[in-house]
């Protein structure tokens, strides 16, 4: 149904008398504090990656005479450090969100946060196709003291990782436009196919266009 703006205003005035009253009971009890939950999750992630960065740092330093252990430890160290930095950036963006700001300002903050999250998800998610190899090397050596490294295994695993990486990107693009029932799978496909990022960028463009004086 379509209404003219004047008709809408007339209907709105009539609605005034009947509008639902705010329910005072259990204020906030059933509210999903999503942003607060996100913030807590980011803090936990930063803490976990902090421990991993310290562990990986001491691992490659302790094994600095064995090249493949240094490379594996360094890879994990660099990844963990990147995860901490990106997590901190997201926390900073979350902290800047102010519901008292003008609508355009807050909408822009939320869209920028969504863009940052989409970029971070890609940057931190995709390397796992390769990162599991150094992770295995560091993990097994650290837990058992046994260096099980084998060059043939490592290179073939990295090769499989590259195929998996390219394949997952191709699959995500293929399924991007198709309906998917699982919300988690939908998020993963949107992230890998670049849809989340494109959507965030589109939202920012829409907000800029809205705010632009014409």
């Amino acid at each position: 149904m379509t209404m003219d703006l004047d008709e809408m205003k007339h209907a709105w005035t009539q609605l005034q008398a009947r509008v639902d009253r705010l329910e005072h009971s259990d204020r906030g009890g059933r509210v999903q504090h999503a942003l607060r939950g996100t913030r807590r999750g980011d803090w936990i992630a930063i803490g976990v990656w902090g421990v991993i960065a310290l562990g990986a740092g001491s691992f490659w330093f302790d094994h600095r005479d064995v090249l493949h252990l240094v490379v594996a430890g360094l890879a994990l160290h660099v990844y963990a450090t990147a995860a901490i930095i990106l997590g901190a950036l997201q926390l900073r963006a979350l902290a800047a969100i102010d519901y008292g700001a003008p609508i355009v300002t807050l909408s822009r903050q939320l869209a920028e946060l969504a863009r940052l999250r989409a970029r971070c998800s890609l940057a931190l998610g995709l390397p796992w196709w390769l990162l599991w190899v150094p992770c295995m090397i560091v993990g097994v050596t650290w837990l058992t003291g046994f260096d099980f490294y084998n060059a043939a295994w490592a290179w073939s695993s990295l090769g499989v990782g590259v195929i998996g990486l390219v394949g997952s990107l191709a699959l995500a693009r293929r399924f991007a436009a198709r309906p998917v029932r699982s919300p988690a799978l939908r998020r993963m496909i949107d992230c890998l196919s670049g849809r989340s990022l494109a959507r965030a960028v589109r939202e920012l463009d829409q907000i800029d266009e809205f705010a632009r004086d014409e």
Partner: protein, 164 residues
């Protein structure tokens, strides 16, 4: 002091409860979602109330700003930045919750717009001045006037298309 503050907040909220109800009706989908959004708005208003300074502006202006920001943020988490499709509108309209057809149709009509345009329409329907709309949205008064003219023309065009 806290009791005074609570009582003052409760009073102001009760006085302007209609704003929260109408914003929730315009941004939420279905009864449960609407209740969640109303509660979320009330919670954020309560949290921000310490920062409200009546010398800097009317309570209603401050309330519109926070309530609309919460509603848009809520909508984003539901991942619906694109306008609703026909099925969504039917679903919204069929969830009556004691409201009449006219109110359902009005909300469905408003929900067909994108979140920022929806905020603009809501403020216009609430008879806010262009200056106040500009202040809440964070755009210029001239821009408010231009956008309202465009929205009016767009609605007229849709109406003409629907009737023909």
């Amino acid at each position: 002091m806290t009791a005074d503050r609570n009582a003052r907040f409760e009073g102001l909220l009760a006085e302007h409860a209609g704003i929260v109800g109408k914003i929730a009706g315009s941004y939420a989908r279905g009864r449960e979602d609407r209740r969640d959004l109303q509660q979320e708005i009330a919670t954020q208003l309560w949290r921000a109330f310490d920062r409200y300074d009546e010398r800097l502006g009317k309570f209603s202006t401050w309330m519109y700003r926070i309530a609309l920001n919460v509603a848009i943020s809520h909508l984003r988490r539901g991942r619906t930045f694109e306008p609703l499709n026909d099925e969504d509108v039917v679903a919204t309209a069929s969830d009556r919750d004691g409201r009449d057809d006219r109110a359902d149709a009005l909300y469905a009509c408003i929900q067909a717009f994108e979140p920022l345009d929806r905020a603009l329409i809501l403020l216009y329907l609430e008879d806010r001045s262009y200056g106040e709309i500009a202040e809440v949205l964070g755009i210029s008064e001239a821009n408010v006037a231009t956008k309202l003219t465009r929205l009016r023309n767009r609605l007229r065009k849709q109406l003409t298309g629907a009737s023909s």
